[in-house]
Amino acid sequence: MYGSLDISTSGMIAQRDRMTAISANIANRNSVMPDGTPYRARRVHFAPGDPTATSKQARQWGVHVSQVEIDQSPLNMRHDPSSPFAMRSGLHQGYVLESNVNPVVEQVNAIQAARAYEANAVAAESSKQMAAQALRLLVG
């Protein structure tokens, strides 16, 4: 039973990490990195298993964040010739490169992460109820 709770907790932690990345994407939509390039969206990827578990048996269960990928899809462009970041020459003269964060995609991902978090919380609640039921055997 405790194993089940650990698995649900790993799911909640993974979804929370994903939500953190989504929040960072939305917050940094207009950010410029220190090297002058626009912020690129972060994508969180999951993989089964929990490498942080203490026993070999437990490591095969649960879920963990396997990598945080930096989205390499094309950056957005905005026409703003007065900006210091505007391109001085070439085909896109006068355009400013902007981050490739799509707020609609981020909102949809946020909803999905919140629902998945909820499902894990419900599963944890179910495991908890079962453990409580088993404990009732001890009470007269």
Binding site: G11, G62, A119, M130, R136
Partner: protein, 150 residues
């Protein structure tokens, strides 16, 4: 004498059911945790498979009792290793879950089915609760017999 009370009749059956429900809970919860994992296929432990093995074990126990070997329902249940379940010496269950290929694949090559997962979870919870309740009744009966008052 107490040993025979705990090892006979319905209690070993209930104990096995409880262990199976706990093992299945781990698998259902694992599926829910991995509902957003790319390439993941949900695992499943067949309830029918367990119940048919349980049925066989009970029938074998009763048959051996009627043939005069052992004392029928007073013997311990003996499980055989099946495709999915391994019952160890101490009675604990090791599961080898299957990956049934139902439902459509999503774009992340995961064929999750949230409604089915939550239904299985609720059913498993109820099965566990029922088994615990039956165990409590069994214990109550024993207690009444020992104290000689209801």
């Amino acid at each position: 004498m107490i040993q025979e009370l705990a090892n006979a009749g319905a209690l070993p059956v209930l104990e096995k059911s409880l262990r199976f429900a706990a093992a299945r809970q781990r698998i259902l919860v694992h599926n829910i945790a991995n509902s957003d994992t790319p390439d993941y296929r949900p695992l499943e432990l067949s309830v029918d498979g367990f119940q048919s093995e349980l049925r066989r074990a009970i029938a074998a126990r009763d048959r051996e009792g009627s043939e005069g070997r052992g004392a029928g329902p007073d013997r311990a249940l003996e499980f055989q290793r099946t495709r999915e379940l391994d019952v160890l010496e101490d009675g604990s269950i090791t599961a080898r879950p299957r990956t049934p290929s139902g439902n459509i694949l999503y774009h992340d090559r995961n064929n999750r089915d949230t409604e089915r997962m939550m239904q299985d979870l609720a059913e498993n919870n109820l099965a566990y609760r029922t088994t615990v309740e039956l165990m409590r009744r069994e214990n109550d009966t024993l207690r009444i017999a020992i104290t000689q008052r209801p």
